[in-house]
Structure formats: C-alpha cells, structure tokens
C-alpha cells in the first residue's frame, strides 16, 4: 500500500477542497447516493432486522472462518476449480501473474472490478510481465485511461465530471465527433470494450460473496462486464478476500437484499451471477480453466484483535456516501486503496498507524457511517481505538499531548480549573470587546482561521451559581 505519501494528508485535503470540478462531482454523487439509499431502505419495513441478522451471520461465519473456508475450497475443487491461498499481497500478485504468464507473456486480459486486485497492486505487475490489461467496468476504465486510482470502492470515477470523461475519451479513442450525454459515453465505451471481451485470453474478476455449501462465487454488477470477463475468455481468475465467505445460499439472499439497497439504492443489482468452476462437458459456455485466489493480507490477524468487527464489511460504500468528510475531500485525499470511514479503519492496519495516523483522526465521530452500515460495524468506535493506539505509542504531535495533559490536569482539580477558567474568560471577553466574537486569539488559530470564536458571557456558570444567581 502507498505509505510514504500518507504524511501529506493536510496538503491533499487542501488540494481536494480547492478543486472545483471535484467538489461539483462529489456534491452530485452525495445527494444521489443518499436519496437513492433512503428510498430503497424505506421500502423495507424490516430493514433494521435484516441488518441485525446480517451482523449475526457474519459474526458466526467469522467465528468459524477456518471451517467455512475449508468447506468452500473443497466445494470449488469439486466443481473443477483450482484454489490458491495467498498470505500476502505479494503472494497473491505472484500467483495471478504466474497463471497469466503460463505459456508466455503478451496475454490480453479483460478485468472486471475488483478492489482486492487494487489492494495487491495487480495491474502494474501484470503489465510489467508483458500483458495487456483492460479494465472493463466503466468507472474503472475511465480511471485507467486517466492513469489514476479508483476514488470510491463502488464508483471508481465518482470524482470525474462528464466533461472530464468526454475529454479523456476524445484523447484516447481519437477525436471523432460524439454526443455529450451519458448514454453516448456508455455507448462509446461499450463499443471499445466489446473487442476487449471477445479478444481476451484471460478474464479477472473479484467476488462479492463466496458460498461455502456450494462453492459458488457470487458477482454483483450493474454493467454485466463481469459476466463477459468470466464467460468468454478461456481462463477465469477470481481474486477474493477470505472474509467474503457466507455459509449458505439462504444467507446470500439476505445479503443481496442489503447490498443493493445500501450501495446504490437498488432493490437488487442488474446482474447477480453465481459461478461454479470451469466449463463442464455439457455446458455450452464458460472458461476452460478456473482459478480462485484467496487473499489473507492481514485479515486473519484482524480476526484475533480489536478490529475484528471490520471483517464484516461487504464493501457496499454506504459509509463513504454518508460521510461528510469523504463528501468534502473525496477518495483520493485518503491516498489509499480503501477510503472513507471503512478505509480510515483499514489503512492504518495495512500501512501502519504511523504513516496513516491522520485518517482515524480526520473524523468528527458523527456516527452516520455506523447508522447506514448494513452489517452494523461500529466504525466510530474502531476509529477511536486507532486513536488510543496512537496515543499509547506516542505517534501524535508533542504539542497536542501537552495540551491534553494540561487540560486533564485542570479537569481533575475543580478549584484550580475554575480559577484558570476565570482568568481565561476575562481575557477572551476583553479581547472580543463590543463585537461579541473574536477574529483571532493566541493558540486558537485552528479555530479562528476560518470562523470567529464567539465571546464568552463573562464569569463561569458555576461561579455565578455559587454566588446565588438562579
């Protein structure tokens, strides 16, 4: 994971806040995602009960993860698939690259959307091995052309305006005249990508769920590109993380209802496909070879620790869509594969708290993410846990620590506290004067750089109360 640049979070924030196109795109996306989800969730009276049930199914599965993973892997093998276990991102990358390079380089690879592939930085490795990789999810295709990373786990190009996409297409597809509406953009991408699907040697996709009892790999998309990647090429590789497993198809039904509503506000996504291994003799289509790469990359370590709840995450993106911080700065400011609240929990675990310490702190703990999370992950509590580890390891600035220690010293000594408060309030009130608010005050620069500090009334409440005022 990109670690070094994490130190520059404040700079990236400023850039994002000053980028007008980004702000327009974020504003539109925020409103759309939130309204759509609200409408879809309100249609289901039992939504809260569905959330609780989903949380319990995930908790149960995580408690017996070894069992369900073995059951799942056996079923995949019984279906004619090959299972590859990868402990680290590097192992997963090498495994996929190895499969692709069997019999030589120069393969044409059509890729469906997979965040695990982003996590293991797959594309650069495949390209380095001499393969041609084409992203086929429209959003992923756009960011690939732009040479960028996805800025949202379900809407990779959410940061781009239509105008920017048109410009990008003109540059890469040739400058032929084209209409400017969304339908025209989709039609153009479709035309280009169709050849990539039919000409691909290998298809790579992710998985939304893995079903232990049948060995099915479940893929949910709105564009159908995942199905073309998996059915047309002779080789299909799935990259999936180990926490994606669900015990039964019955469980899947519940999660599909939650996922579509939480992610895009759809009752169900346009395409929901269950794959069960390679083409069998009687099948009319399907890949000749089917590989499943199961990634751990720190997840089994999370299983035994205080961030275990995070493994329930189904990558719906609802927490990003409802986070006012993500909505202000967008995904790229996080400079990590996963952004928003879920990313702010995950990134310090993968990149290290030292380099990613801003992410859990850049949050108001407003709790909206937890409110919309379909599996009830206590995201604010997990972010606070990162802050506690940060404090224990003394990773924060010395000035902040000192201020906190000073404040705690007074907070535990009411008489001293009142005396000090009295002096401070006198000073604040005097500085504010008739204006009723301060434009500047020593050590309050963080506050006053963009807002006034309302002046205190005068004496503290406790002093006035003690003096008999009622």
């Amino acid at each position: 994971m990109k670690a070094a640049a994490q130190n520059n979070f404040p700079h990236r924030v400023q850039t994002a806040l000053g980028n007008e196109a980004l702000q327009r795109a974020l504003g539109r996306a925020r409103t759309g995602f939130q309204n759509n989800r609200r409408r879809a969730v309100n249609q289901v009276a039992e939504f809260q009960r569905m959330r609780s049930a989903a949380r319990e199914i995930k908790n149960h599965t995580l408690a017996h993860l070894d069992f369900y993973l073995e059951q799942f892997a056996d079923a995949v093998r019984a279906n004619g698939g090959q299972v590859h276990w990868a402990r680290t991102a590097g192992e997963a990358r090498d495994t996929v690259a190895g499969i692709c390079s069997a019999g030589g380089g120069g393969k044409k690879i059509a890729k469906g959307k997979t965040m695990v592939a982003e996590e293991i930085e797959l594309n650069p490795a495949l390209e380095k091995a001499g393969h041609e990789v084409t992203e086929t999810d429209l959003g992923e295709y756009i960011v690939q052309l732009a040479g960028e990373a996805p800025s949202h786990i379900i809407a990779p190009a959410v940061h781009k305006t239509r105008g920017e996409v048109l410009e990008l297409f003109a540059r890469h597809h040739g400058a032929k005249k084209r209409g400017g509406d969304t339908a025209a953009i989709v039609a153009e991408a479709r035309q280009v990508l169709r050849e990539k699907f039919t000409g691909a040697d290998i298809g790579i996709t992710g998985a939304n769920f893995l079903i232990a009892e049948t060995g099915a790999i479940v893929l949910v998309t709105n564009e159908g590109n995942g199905d073309l990647c998996s059915c047309l090429p002779p080789v299909h590789i799935v990259t999936a993380a180990i926490e994606k497993v669900l015990p039964t198809l019955e469980d899947l039904a519940l999660f599909l209802r939650l996922l579509g509503r939480s992610a895009t506000g759809q009752e169900i996504s346009n395409y929901t496909t269950l794959y069960a291994g390679a083409k069998r003799e009687a099948d009319t289509d399907g890949p000749r070879e089917f590989h499943l790469v199961l990634l751990d990359n720190g997840r089994s370590a999370m299983l035994g620790g205080e961030f275990r709840d995070m493994l329930r995450c189904i990558r719906c993106g609802a927490c990003l869509n409802h986070c006012p911080v993500y909505g202000s700065i967008g995904g790229h400011a996080y400079d990590a594969v996963y952004s928003g609240p879920m990313g702010a929990v995950l990134t310090p675990l993968s990149a290290g708290l030292r380099v990613a310490r801003d992410l859990p702190n850049a949050c108001t703990l407003n709790g909206r993410c937890r409110e919309v999370c379909p599996v009830d992950i206590p995201l604010p509590d997990l972010l606070r846990k990162h802050r506690m580890r940060e404090f224990e390891q003394k990773l924060g600035g010395a000035r902040g620590r000192l201020a906190l220690a000073l404040w705690a010293f007074f907070a535990l000594r009411p008489r001293l506290y009142q005396a000090a408060a009295g002096a401070l309030l006198y000073l604040l009130k005097k500085t504010a004067g008739r204006r009723g608010a301060l434009r500047k005050f020593p050590l309050a620069g963080g506050w006053t750089q963009s807002r006034d500090l309302p002046a205190p009334e005068g004496k503290t409440f406790l002093r006035r109360w003690a003096q008999g005022e009622r």
Partner: protein, 263 residues
Amino acid sequence: MTAESKPAVGLFATCLADLFRPTVAFAAARLLRAAGCTVTVPLAQTCCGQPAYNSGDAHSARCIAKRVVEVFSPYDFTVAPSGSCAAMIREHYPALLGDDPGLREKSQTLARRTYELTSFLADVRDFTAVDAAFNCAVTYHDSCAGLRECGIRRQPRRLLQQVRGLTLREMADSDVCCGFGGTFCVKYPDISARMAGDKAHAVAQSGADAVLGGDLGCLLNIAGCIKRSGGGARVFHVAEVLAGLAGAAIGEGEGEGEGGGAK
C-alpha cells in the same frame, strides 16, 4: 416517582456552557424546576472527559469519568444540556469503567439515570408547561451524538411547538454533522470549515431567522462561521428559547441582533 416527591436532579452544566454560555445552564435549571424537579449543581464538576476519550487518552478519560461518577451518583437523575456529554456518560462510561470492579455497577447506574435535557423533559417528565415566547422562524440542527446515541429528534421539536410565536422551518440535511467534532475542528480546520459552511448554507436556505440546537459545541461552530461570513441567522441553544432566556444570541455583539440591524 410519586407526584409528591420531586426527583432530585444533578445538573451537569457541561464545560462549554460553564465557560462560554452560562445562560444555557441557567435555562436548563429553570426548565427542570418548572418540570417539577429539585435542581442541584455540584460545584466539583468540570467536564465529562470526552476530549481525552476521543483523542485516545483513555487513562485521563477514565480518571475524569471516575470523578463524574462519584460526584453525580447521589442524584435521582443527571441531566446535561448537551446530547454529546450525556452520550459520553450513557454510552461510553460503562465501557470505559467496565474493568473497574468498584465502579462497574456505579457507572452503569449513572448511565441509566443520565439524560440530555430535552429528552429528559419530553420523555421522562412529559413536560408540557413551556412558558416562553419567541417571535421567530427557527430551524433546528440535530447534533450527531444526541441524534444517534441518545435518539433525540422529536423531543426538542415537540417542546418548541409550545413556544408562542415560534415557527419551525426544517433545513435540508439537518442531521448532517456541522464539522465541530471536538478537537477535530482545530486539528483539521479546512475540512471543518467546509462542513460548517455547508451547514450555514443549509440554515440560510431554510429562510429561518434563527438556528437552534441542543449542543453548544455545534452552536459555537455554526455561530462562528455565520459571524465570519458577515452575519445571517441568529444562534441559540434550544434551552434558552424554551426558558424564555433568549437575549443576545451566541457570538452577537452590542447593537446586533433583534432590533440591532446586523441581520
């Protein structure tokens, strides 16, 4: 609680009201008395410890929480004019002090008996004797901890309905964070300012003359943002309006406000 025995309420003023806006705490005391409670203000109180807790300093937070538990245990109820501080005691003290055998039960008891002001008045006391006038169109900001940790949404609105002359004009996204977030607002001032600006914009779009809320942190943030941008809606804590103590608004200077001409 029988009709004869008045419940004893320990008023947790909150550090921000104690320091910046004593009127909020006086208003809370007045409302609690009107709702048939005897009100005591323990003078050994300072803060609920949330700044330490949310900054990751669990040790300091625990020390402060212990003190609050000791100071407020004697009362039938602890009431704070803040959803954020009430949530700290209700939701987080039991977890924070859960490993301390001497305090586990006490912290759970205190958590059960602690309320934010408007939810205490509306839910526990079924208070319907608001005696105040406020000739104003107001909009209401739902502070995050109050809304999501204490379930406060309809209670302040129900109480405000009883205020003579007041009309409520809901703003868009009233449940979206204003960007205060405790130390967040000084650690990440740019993001905070953007969020506060969005909130101030929603307030202005609502056409309300005043914005009310139940948490002083948010209100200082919103008021400071409106003031910096040259004025707009007046800002009050909901308790001030309910108690008839809405004089000068938060951050308002001399000669500003009602009849002053700053609007």
